[in-house]
């Protein structure tokens, strides 16, 4: 219903065809992508381009209306050359994904009869999502700095959302954004107060360099926060295992229980992989958050070191920001 500009630009969706369950999409158009905040971070988007490979909706609103719009969704996708399809029974499609799991797909439009068998053949020979190397695509190639505060936080970019950067800036820290395969030593050379491992696309096992770095961050007790993919990487670094969820958690309405005070929070989520619950026991972590519905792992805390990680998105965008306090928790570790 809301949040398509944010979702479409979230690097975690890179390489995916996204289908939206809400049937009316594009009602409020798309804001101006050139508008930046004081730090030069895009004000309304999560990265500098549409990340999804395709969009599937029930009804595309061809007219849009909002004080903050600069174009329609249709115009935006056209400009960025991203294909989309409307008129689809997305509820039926969702049910298919619910039972069949996330799957390879193709968008095919034709005036004549579509040869389904031929499409299937093409699809099976296309590179599989699981085997794709996303880091080269989504991660920054060089160091980027936002703000000029004295204290800084290093963000390891495995597909960082701008909202993560904005949240760190709001706490009063300079952000130093570094490539996904940056070494521990390089990080330390900036003398940061803490490190954030971000969300991003694909299997955490595809980020071996980041896992190595994370191990050293833990070893050296550098205050560290992992978000989503970053949480899985930290998990692996601390001896947990990860697995691919059949269907994943995607949406803005996922309830998570904070086991420290039994409070339930509604969170924004977007992940296809997760930390295996059974693997926690012999790992270095305690369970911090669980999913109230399926009891999967939603957050972990290191037993000894200053390292925390959440599977959901405390930075929101799109979605609720009830869990902003996770950033405050990082701040507490950094100022300890």
């Amino acid at each position: 219903m809301v949040g398509y500009p944010e979702a479409l630009t979230d690097p975690s969706y890179n390489g995916q065809i996204l289908t939206l369950t809400y049937p009316l999409i594009g009602n409020y158009g798309v804001p101006d992508p050139s508008i930046k905040d004081d730090d030069g971070i895009s004000k309304f988007f999560e990265s500098d381009k549409i990340q999804v490979r395709g969009l599937v909706v029930h009804e595309l609103s061809l007219t849009a209306c909002h004080w903050n719009l600069s174009m329609t969704l249709d115009e935006w996708m056209y400009n960025e050359k991203i294909p989309g399809i409307s008129g689809i029974d997305t509820r039926e499609l969702t049910k298919k994904l619910r039972t069949g799991g996330v799957m390879m797909a193709a968008l095919v439009v034709s005036d004549s009869e579509i040869d389904i068998e031929e499409i299937k053949k093409q699809l099976s020979s296309a590179p599989h999502y699981n085997s794709e190397q996303f880091m080269d695509v989504v991660s920054t190639k060089q160091e980027r700095v936002y703000g000029d505060d004295k204290k800084s936080v290093v963000v390891i970019d495995t597909g960082a959302k701008n909202a993560i950067l904005r949240n760190i800036r709001q706490m009063g820290y300079k952000v130093i954004l570094l490539p996904w395969n940056v070494t521990y030593e390089k990080i330390i050379s900036y003398n940061p107060k803490g490190v954030v491992l971000t969300s991003g696309p694909g299997d955490p096992q595809n980020c071996p360099d980041t896992i190595d770095t994370a191990k050293k961050l833990i070893e050296n007790n550098i205050p560290t926060l992992g978000i989503c993919l970053g949480a899985q990487i930290i998990g692996i670094a601390g001896n947990t295992e990860t697995y691919k969820l059949k269907y994943g958690h995607r949406g803005q309405n996922k309830p998570c229980v904070n086991l420290e005070n039994n409070q339930v929070y509604v969170t924004s989520q977007n992940h296809g992989y997760g930390i295996t619950p059974e693997s926690l026991e012999k790992s270095e972590f305690n369970l911090w958050f669980t999913n109230a519905d399926d009891k999967t792992v939603e957050g972990i805390k290191h037993k000894k070191q200053n390292c925390i990680a959440v599977q959901f998105h405390p930075e929101a965008a799109p979605g609720p920001f009830d869990c902003k306090f996770v950033f405050e928790e990082l701040k507490r570790l950094m100022e300890k």
């Binding site: 219903m1 809301v2 949040g3 500009p5 944010e6 369950t21 809400y22 049937p23 009316l24 009602n27 409020y28 309304f44 029930h58 009804e59 609103s61 007219t63 849009a64 209306c65 909002h66 004080w67 903050n68 029974d89 997305t90 509820r91 039926e92 969702t94 049910k95 619910r98 269907y247 949406g251 803005q252 309405n253 996922k254 309830p255 229980v257 039994n262 409070q263 339930v264 509604v266 109230a292 519905d293 929101a316 965008a317 799109p318 979605g319 609720p320 920001f321 009830d322």
Partner: protein, 1080 residues
Amino acid sequence: MPKNESLKKILVLGSGAIKIGEAGEFDYSGSQCLKAIHEDGLKSVLINPNIATIQTDTRFADQVYLLPVNPEYVESIIEKERPDGIMLAYGGQTALNCGVKLEESTILQKYGVSVLGTSIKGIQKTEDRQLFKDSMKESQVPILNSKTVTNFEDAKKAAEELSFPVIIRVAYTLGGQGGGIAHNEIELHEIVERGFRASIVGQVLIEEYVGHWKQIEYEVMQDYDGNNIIVCNMENILSMKAHTGDNIVVAPSQTIDNHEYHMLRSAALRATKNVGIVGECNIQYALEPNSDKYVAIEINPRLSRSSALASKATGYPLAYMSAKIGLGYNLSELVNRITQSTTACFEPSLDYIVCKHPRWDFEKFELVNRKLGPAMKSVGEVMAIGRTFEESLQKSIRMLDIGNDGLVLNRVNGKTYNEEQIENKLTFHDDHILYNVAIALKMGISVEQIYKLSTINPWFIEKIKNIVDIESKLKDSELGESLLWEAKKMGFSDKQIARVKGKTPDEVRDLRKKLGVLPSVKQIDTLSAEWPAVTNYLYLTYGGHSHDIEIPSDEKGIVVLGAGPYRIGSSVEFDWGTVNMVWGLQENGEKNISVVNCNPETVSTDYDICTRLYFEELTQERILDITEFENPKGIITCVGGQTANNLTLGLAEHGVNILGTSAFDVDRAENRSKFSAELDKLHIPQPRWQAFTNINEAKNFAQEVEFPVIVRPSYVLSGAAMKVVWSETELKAYVKAAADVSPDHPVVISKFMLNSLEVDVDGISNGKQVIIGAIVEHIDSAGVHSGDAMMCIPPWRLSNKIIETINEYTKKIALTFNIKGPFNLQYLVHDDHVYVIELNIRASRSMPFVSKLVKMNLISLASKAILDKPLPKIPENKWQKIHNYGIKVPQFSFMQLQGADISLGVEMQSTGEAACFGNSFHDALAKGLISVGYNLPVKGTALVTVGGDQNKQKLVASIAKLKHLGFKILATEHTAEFFEEKIGQVEIVYKISEPERKPNISDLLYERKIDFIINIPSTITLEKYVGMLDDEYQIRRKSLELGIPVLTTLELADSFVKTLEWLKDNETTKEPIEPYDKFD
């Protein structure tokens, strides 16, 4: 197991009779609350005089008291029942206010009753203007600037500071009365001066006016541990201009972005946390359309109309969950009722769009102002579900049952306007606003211009334009498969398409089926298909390619049609009928029952009542879609009021099996000519009648039987276009009106017999046996619509002979019409003769009243009759053997309807009713009158103004009694003269139209020097409105606005005075009602 072991017994307060602003939604919320309590093994006690509700059946509550919801009565029940806890959030503002008073007078403390859910302190934070301001400030939630003033100079200063326009709210008056919107100093002066006079404290509030801002609402749940979630958000299409109750509302919001959505969401969570909500609340915002500036307008710390809508829109049962929270559960301990595997602590995601449309009944009221504004005027609502906005909107219009088939292409397509007129219509919203937007678009007015005038967000106007564009496409193009799909996705009905194409609806239907243009059945599951749903809460849409469910052939069931929106004449009693029918069928072994209904304020649309719930249109097209999908054993049309009943014939003609009385027999009763002819055959007398096709026939007949006559069309409920006509000129006008309302059926006129009694009989038959529920006597004389009349069981003015005759006629008629199921007969008794006026072969308005008093559930018996099962042996005339008196009193909502006259006539005007039982006539009547808001003073001053010598004569005894009781009697010149002669001293007061003469009625009213008014209009002719009796109208209207009871019929005045006399030496009884008798 109860969560909180200190709780054993819980008191729940209901909302009383249905009125504008407090309707059937509180039967839904109260019933859910009682269900939640019952599940925990706790005892429940309910106080609610609304007899027509499900909650006042003894099914959910352990003890039910049909008593006024006020501190005195509630205290006496607390003293008697000694509950541990009290639930205040389920009976609207009535229950909430009562709870605050109970706390303030330390009654709750005295008896150790704890408030479950939001505390009184929390409630006060939302109700008290200053506390609310403080709380919002602490929560960092902005609110509107306002200032309280006591004189015009200050008002002017405040208005200038805030800058015009401003909204003026009058302190301590109900429902936005007396206030208004001032665009300049002149208007300000007028409204403020009026406000000072109307306010008992001489105080008004001047507030910024943000009419063009978006109106957005959030429904919040919070538990004792502080876990909180948003269950639903909604957007009002008519911006802040119209009260949300009068607004067309969509869920979820459509025109705000992620930032705004979550900004308001978080503000809602902060605000409710600060207030200390425990359970459910609704928060309303105004959002500037050109920025993200917003303000919180108000918080409702209780279940509301919006929360009922949100429950139905999302499938999240807010009232039930809220009650569980009140009992001590936290959100994560509760389970999502739809998936039964996920937690209730989540935020539902929708994959459809919901459109709520209000139902107004302005036609029923003379002189009423149809403009929409800050005070709510609608009497009910519908909710439509679709997968495009256009589909939902057009569905909702059909659901209203006002004769329209959608936004465009209706049978009557409204007026044509010139540019200036349409601009005016767009600026000042009335109940036709969306039709007017469509008209403006057709006139070529731009979307931008329409937005500027109407403040309706352009997105919605664009969508309306899509509907208008399809209309012209339908006009200009061949009707092929793709156009059919397009039109159906835009919510066009077969009737609309047929009309523009010069075909019949059946031809369009056949073509669609041939081309495979068919709707899909989809589930509402709270999670957009992410988890499988175990409940079947369903809707139909053309925005889909496959059904979510299939019906196995061994699960063929019965489809029960509900009653559609609440409106005058069809209210919660038909929901009671629908739900009791479902239960009755289930108790008789039927496993698969489907319900079709579209009213979010009902219990019948709770998805756990039946096997499959279709939240759908009650139109022939949609019911055929459903029956084709369900392939049911049969369909029941006799419990959903006239809406369902009217579908009987058409469905039968399309091969649907009607369970119960056959369509043929229903038609014989509904068709006035056929019915009257049938009675003649039986030699049962009826007032002289004639069906006519032209005005000359009508005129000749009227002259022959002498005026007055009643003119009425067939197949209508509650006197739509039914009129008592006193002269030839009127006759001409009404013949036309009647023909418009029911064009396919003949219009009948009959003799109107003055000075007669009216009697209702409710009964059940299975074609062999007839069970008479009760004979119900109207207290008011015939001519007052049966829905507006006070009713009494047992009758006390009817001789045994008359009762015998009525019994005999009833049985004869029931058997002649082969009735299988419920029926209602209306009789006139005139000069010791009995005449039949009407037969309704369906559940009636009075059935819950009869069933509860006689302890015989008529609908439950009807379900046996419909299933062809033998009826149990019930003693003949069981109703005569009960020891109680039951009196049903109508509830009016004139207060909300600016300008409406409150004198009663043949068109029904009441919005609800209360009924109380007692040991004597006056015992029951006293409680009934208090229940609908009459204050029964023990001493004070009465104003008497009576038109016509005959009426004056009839009142002498009552006025004498009143004087004897110690009341001071005031009267206008002629009346005073008349009564002084008969009963001694009467003080003279002067008419409102002569303000220079003192003492003047107007002053006395404002000074609160009159306790009640007996104001009997001269005649029931139309002339009363043409100036000369304007004074009486002024008195009625003014006193209403000031909350002073006005008695407008002789019978009511007489009963009222006798009740005052009775109360001098007696106290009313306070007994719970007894459960229905079980029959084998």
